[in-house]
Amino acid sequence: MEIRRESIWNDVFETYLSVNFELVKHLKRRRLPIVAALAVIVPLIFYVKVPDTADVFAATVLSFVNILIVVSAAMFAGDAVCGEFEKKTSLLLFPTPQRRSTIFAGKYIAALLATFLVVLLYYLTMTLQTAQLYGWGEIPAELGKSFLTALIYSAAAVSVVYFFSALLKRSITSTIVGFLFLMMILQVVAMVLMLVHQEPWFIVTYSANLITDVLGVLSSLPFGPGEEEHAWVLMFSPDFGVGIAVMVAYAIVGFVTGMAMGIRRED
């Protein structure tokens, strides 16, 4: 019992060390400051055209948070596993008295925390903007729900990129593939499914629409000239419970499979 407790304590401590080290690395590589700066600057762009109501303003600003989350996930998790093998820092890091599972868990948590921080900054900036433009009383009541949904989507996005980082050999490849998977491939699949009148409930990027949908303003906005011809895009809106469940599933599966592959990797 005592040995088991000591082992758990060791795991927790090593994971904590790994998280700290990864966060220092994100800072030193200037990734965290750059993405954090984006999180503050991007909402400012929306001063260009200010809508009449706070709800619409918040929904418009938040429609870009998905992109920021994917960028963050790609930046912080893209080289989480393969980076150590590719640059041979694994030969320094692994022959030490710490389990690989704690190292890789630390890397995942650090990527998650960095993305959470970026999302938090984005929401904070947007909230301050809304308060400044419309007054504190006009801040949408469902903003907290939207924020929590964004955090859950962040976990899913980080897990997806983390999975590719464990699957592929080169950091640049896993970063690009992870980014394109979330930004393009899943979006295209969702659109094709909607074209044939199937709800893409299992596509995590479709579930991410909840971030703005919870504000009562549909985010599944059509693109291209004229909304009428593209009305099919508006046919579906994710169910809150199902959407959250899908995001959580992506987060867990991506993390667990990525960890398993990283631990078994031998090169």
Partner: protein
């Protein structure tokens, strides 16, 4: 007896047919500096990766200070400092930042970490670079830094895999001096290399590996003895007269003599005692001896003979 490093029938297979290691059993006593020698692809790095927990053996066991590396890696690796192949470093960090992290991994206190960082960086002559980004370091500096990392927690055992690979002569000399220092401090060093000169200079035992199998193992003294060719080279002050040559041939332990002006090659049975006897006879017979050297082959010759025996056996 508890060995510093011990392996039992280590086997590492890749796919169905290829065995990188095929039943390697090693016994390395504490305080020894052991050379692990073999051609490229012999299985040296595979052995080291198993010893340091980087890969798992297909079968067999590896122990460090009696602790099974596969079963209890965390405990076993606490006593090891390792430099494997040419590791990468985090270019954007400073040695202080990187070593601080590893110090914490080894559960050292902050004061101890700071003290050891200074101590190890001084040892590898990088004190002035403690707070400079590693991206600006030369190959030799990086290699010395990774040795500092391996030494940070005062390990009992140091495992070095090709530590001078890619280094310039000055860098090679530095690393060699460091290993000599570790040897004098009583540290166990397991040195994998295909550079025989390096091994001959710093090791007291050599293990030869080929195609995943240990084919020979001996102390440097033992190897030295077997390398003696049964010939002594004697240099005299003056050219030898016919009479003196006959006196040389008359020495009972000498089998034959080749004379060339002031030098002579005396063939004998190769035993050290016989060599001593011959020298005594030369002196007692009033030969003016300037130098007296037992001729021996180098470690390279021994390596070639061991490897060719292996080929013959196959």
């Amino acid at each position: 007896m508890e060995y510093a490093i011990r392996t039992e029938n280590l086997v590492k297979k890749y796919g169905k047919d290829f065995a990188a290691l095929d039943g390697v059993s090693l016994r390395i006593e504490k305080g020894q500096v052991v050379g692990y020698v073999g051609p490229n692809g012999a299985g040296k790095t595979t052995t080291i990766k198993i010893l340091t927990g980087l890969i798992k053996p297909s079968s067999g066991h590896a122990y460090v200070n009696g602790i099974d590396v596969t079963a209890n890696a965390r405990k076993a690796l606490r006593t090891i400092g390792a430099l494997i192949e040419v590791p990468g470093v985090y270019d954007y960090l400073t040695p202080h930042e990187m070593l601080t992290y590893f110090g914490k991994v080894y559960r050292m206190s902050s004061a101890e970490i700071d003290h050891r960082i200074k101590e190890t960086l001084e040892l590898v002559r990088l004190s002035d670079w403690e707070h400079k980004k590693m991206g600006t370091f030369s190959t030799g500096m990086l290699r010395r830094l990774t040795i500092a990392k391996a030494l940070l927690h005062r390990p009992d055992n140091l495992i070095l895999d090709e530590p001078v690979l890619g280094l310039d002569p000055e860098g090679i000399r530095d690393v060699r001096e460091l290993i000599r220092q570790f040897r004098s401090e009583g540290m166990t060093v397991f040195l994998s290399s295909h550079l025989l000169g390096e091994v001959a200079e710093v090791c007291n035992t050599v293990i030869f590996l080929n195609k995943g199998k240990v084919i020979s193992s001996d102390s440097m003294e033992g190897i030295g003895r077997s390398l003696e060719l049964g010939v002594v080279n004697v240099k005299f002050l003056k050219s030898l007269s016919r009479e003196e040559i006959e006196k040389l041939r008359a020495i009972e332990l000498v089998r034959s003599v080749d004379v060339n002006d002031r030098t002579a090659r005396l063939h004998y049975d190769g035993k050290p005692e016989s060599s001593v006897q011959i020298l005594r006879r030369l002196v007692s017979s009033n030969f003016e001896v300037v130098s007296y050297n037992v001729e021996s082959a180098g470690l390279e010759d021994y390596y070639v003979s061991v490897m060719s025996d292996e080929k013959g056996a196959n």
